[in-house]
């Protein structure tokens, strides 16, 4: 191979990539994921085209405080899923540096045995300003994996300690991982994780304090409102040794079954489709508005007017909006 070939950078036609994608070409899948992640001009076309083939994957979110052993647990879950004959996609999110915009994505370090398994596709994503523990385009990248045929998609959140609740809206089943030594577990739970967890996993359960944490979690779950159809189970694991992974996956499967039988899945889908449409509309609106010369020009004038003291941001916004919807 000649070195010059590298500069061509596979700027393949979108159609060709889509065709290769349908034939199961992993490289094409990876390229399309990048279009989506980069919010490339081709992203909309790709997502629109793939939409009908998505929707079959079961999406499992794994969240929890830093050092909870999420990556190790994800690796073990993936291996157990493989042994049950399922194909697996993994989206592992790590934080983007607010200073440089760069990132180190290191979750693969924990998953070496999955690298060359053809039934597993791992994609590391930088958060790129996404909040709530996910990357900006996590859901859409999951859609690509889903359309590619991954039967189970595991989404591992950033895990930098902030409250990571968004995963619940991107996943069908959310696992909250806690460890005895993260003393702030109770804080984390108070901060909303109790509400989003469908399964609670106490990892490093061989460590001191595991018993106490178990009691704490159970008693907090008891405080959840009565009458809920799904009572979140608590599973103890030692992920590094693979202990407790089978029961954990069993509980996960039960939740999936519950979703289907209770009609919750339909409800979730309806809600997600609605959210998606709303987001797409809002985003396009925002982009379209600021692209219009007349509006961006007016914005600049209004900034000066507020600074000069003759207007407030509120009155200024009113006048800019007047240009956006002259018909109203």
């Amino acid at each position: 191979m000649k070195p010059e070939a590298a500069t061509a950078h596979g700027r393949e036609a979108t159609e060709e990539l889509l065709a290769r994608f349908r034939l199961g070409d992993r490289r094409a899948c990876a390229r399309l994921m990048s279009f989506v992640e980069d919010e490339d001009d081709r992203a909309t076309r790709v997502l629109d085209e793939l939409y009908p083939s998505r929707g079959r994957a079961w999406r499992v979110g794994v969240t929890g405080p830093p050092g909870a052993g999420k990556s190790t647990l994800v690796e073990k879950l993936a291996r157990e899923l493989r042994s049950r004959g399922r194909t697996v996609g993994i989206i592992a999110v790590d934080p983007t540096s607010p200073f440089s915009g760069g990132a180190i994505l290191g979750d693969r370090v924990r998953m070496p045995r999955l690298f060359t398994d053809e039934g597993v596709f791992i994609r590391s994503m930088a958060s790129r300003g996404g909040l709530g523990g996910l990357a900006r385009r996590t859901r859409e990248v999951c859609d690509v994996l889903d359309a590619f045929g991954s039967e189970v998609i595991i989404i591992e959140t950033v895990g930098v300690g902030q409250i990571e609740l968004d995963v619940a809206s991107a996943a069908h089943t959310t696992v909250v991982v806690l460890v005895p030594e993260s003393g702030d577990s109770v804080q984390v739970m108070k901060a909303g994780l109790m509400e989003i967890g469908e399964i609670f996993c106490i990892n490093k359960a061989d460590r001191q304090g595991a018993e106490r944490l178990l009691v704490e979690v159970r008693s907090m779950l008891d405080l959840l409102p009565d009458g809920r159809e799904w009572r979140p189970p608590v599973v103890e694991t030692v992920a590094t040794a693979g202990e407790g992974v089978v029961p954990l996956l069993d509980r996960l499967e039960e939740h999936r079954q519950f979703l289907g039988e209770s009609g919750r899945l339909e409800e979730l889908r309806r809600r997600q489709v609605r959210t998606e449409i709303v987001e797409i509309v809002e985003e396009r609106l925002r982009r379209d508005v600021w692209r219009r010369q007349r509006i961006s020009g007016r914005l600049a004038e209004e900034v000066e007017a507020v600074l000069a003291g003759g207007a407030t941001p509120y009155s200024a916004a009113g006048r800019v909006l007047g240009l956006v919807r002259p018909g109203d």
Binding site: T72, R110, T240
Partner: protein, 549 residues
């Protein structure tokens, strides 16, 4: 001396000093330095408590009453490359030129417990050390070298039990009994997780194998040093001097705890523990580090672990000059760098020393380069007078203040590690790994921003420099013939016997019996390094590191 008079004079000096455009200085490790040190820097000094005399507690001034007047340090050049036969020839060359101890460098597959014909070993066989996959290789390595006469140091960690078993069995083939064998296995797994990364099992089973080795040695190979607790690799990974000191000593103390927890008498095994440090470029900081290490160890062993035998209090150490300080540019300059570092080790009271060769950033050393390195030690010993007086820098206000400062920083790290639940937990949290990565990145930035000079690299460069020293190249045939010998061995040996010993070994691993006798049986049965390690991994599992940057 009247303190108040000194304080007044000091204030006058300070005023003079502040008028001058002097630059700020810190050690290589970032300890900020005063322009001059005086008795005022040692307000609480207590000579007998902190220093004592050579050979006396707390051994700050050295472990022997006579230091180098009685016996010089051991000149021990780390060597190994290609096949066992190639390395055997190099050992004979070194012994013939006045070297006094052997030190085996293994190749990466061996360090990682894999046979030369393992798929993962491709391209690495014999490259950075000698390839040893079986008892037969070990026997070849020492052919014609009487194992009852030499002391041998082996840099081996993850598979230490297996390589040591090969050595013991090779000695048996020479008719030499285990009780007369002298030498060291590095066997320091904690620093593998921290820095060197040639691990096999997770920490807990690794600690169990190490205590098995300590027990076996105290019963059957009493003159063997069972762990060489190593700061060398921690420093090479980019740590500061204080981190090297702190993490290494904490590793050592952790082995002591493990030994005691396994029911061993502290005085039964502690005298067989030794240390291995780096000697880096910051001359006085290094001397202070060696002195602080001796003092901390003595105090911890006597006060905390209540060891009674004075030999348990002694921190004996080997030193290697800092490979990471050598430059690929103008490699001959490395001869001078190594000389300064070697002198620091001697003034710091080392028991044995390896001096790096000038060409080591490029390849394993040529005979000529390694001879200059050995001669550097002989120059220090015979021509400089540095070996005439014990701890000649002791009493220097600067060196004493720096020694105190390094001890203080080390103890600060001890506290942090204890707060995390001890060294094993701290490693699982990635604490030492992250501290080292931060220090190493800070150093890189300082060099890139020109705040730190590296001669020949970011200053005093030579335009269009061409490499003019010859390099040792490993013939790719080594890998091929090594693999052929191995498959020949597999054909020749009693396969059923091998199966049996490996099954027995797995059982011992799963239970609580000492694994050493079974590893030794497996070695004798010509089970290979990879097979024995795999049998142990079957039971113990493999370690996966936490990602740290």
């Amino acid at each position: 001396m009247d303190d108040s008079q000194l304080k007044r004079r000091f204030a006058e000096w300070e005023q003079e000093y502040s008028k001058r455009p002097a630059r700020a200085c810190e050690t290589l490790s970032g300890v900020s330095l005063k322009p001059v040190y005086t008795p005022l820097d040692l307000p609480d000094a207590d000579y007998l408590r902190d220093l004592g005399l050579p050979g006396q507690y707390p051994f700050t001034r050295g472990i022997h009453p006579d230091m180098y007047r009685g016996r010089l340090w051991t000149m021990r050049q780390f060597a190994g490359f290609g096949s066992a036969r190639d390395t055997n020839a190099r050992y004979k060359f070194l012994l013939g030129h006045g070297e006094t101890g052997l030190s085996v460098a293994f190749d990466f597959p061996t360090l990682y417990g894999r046979d030369s014909d393992d798929a993962r070993a491709r391209g690495e066989v014999g490259k950075c050390g000698v390839a040893i996959s079986s008892l037969d290789d070990m026997a070849t390595l020492f052919e014609g070298i009487p194992l009852d006469k030499v002391s041998t140091s082996m840099t081996i960690n993850g598979p230490a039990a297996v390589i040591w078993a090969f050595y013991i069995a090779a000695a048996e083939l020479q008719g030499v009994k285990p009780e007369v064998l002298r030498g060291t296995i590095q066997n320091d797994i904690l620093k593998e997780y921290i820095a060197q990364k040639s691990w096999l099992f997770p920490p807990e089973p690794s600690m169990r194998v190490i205590t098995d080795i300590m027990r076996f040695a105290s019963e059957q190979v009493p003159r063997w040093n069972t762990i060489s607790i190593s700061g060398y690799h921690i420093r090479e990974a980019g740590s500061t001097a204080a981190q090297e000191l702190a993490f290494t000593l904490k590793d050592g103390l952790t082995y002591v705890e493990a030994g005691i927890a396994a029911g061993l008498d502290v005085d039964g095994f502690a005298p067989r523990l030794s240390y291995f440090f780096n000697s880096h470029l910051d001359f006085f900081e290094e001397v202070a580090k060696f002195r602080a290490a001796r003092r901390i160890w003595a105090r911890e062993m006597r006060e905390t672990f209540k060891a009674k035998d004075p030999r348990s209090w002694l921190l004996r150490f080997h030193t290697q000059t800092a490979g990471c300080s050598l430059t690929a540019q103008q490699p001959e300059n490395n001869i001078a760098r190594t000389g300064f570092q070697a002198l620091a080790a001697v003034l710091g009271g080392t028991q044995s020393l390896h001096t790096n060769s000038m060409d080591e950033t490029w390849a394993l050393p040529t005979e000529k380069a390694v001879l200059i390195a050995l001669r550097t030690q002989q120059l220090i010993a015979e021509e400089t007078g540095a070996a005439s007086v014990a701890d000649p820098l002791g009493g220097s206000w600067y060196v004493e203040a720096l020694t105190d400062e390094l001890e203080r920083q080390a103890r600060e790290y001890f506290r942090k590690i204890d707060a995390l639940g001890g060294m094993v937990r701290a490693i699982e949290h990635g604490f030492p790994q992250r501290e080292i990565a931060d220090a190493s990145y800070r150093h890189q930035r300082a060099v890139e921003e020109g705040r730190r000079t590296v001669v020949g690299v970011n200053r005093y460069q030579l335009e269009g420099e061409k490499l003019e020293i010859p390099l040792l190249r490993i013939d790719p045939e080594v890998e091929k013939s090594q693999c052929e010998r191995l498959s020949e061995l597999r054909r020749r040996r009693d396969g059923a016997r091998v199966e049996q010993v490996l099954t027995d070994l797995r059982e011992a691993c799963a239970g609580t019996d000492n694994v050493m006798p079974l590893v030794l049986d497996a070695a004798r049965a010509r089970a290979t390094l990879g097979e024995i390690c795999q049998a142990m991994k079957d039971v113990f599992g493999e370690y996966v590191e936490p990602p740290m940057f």
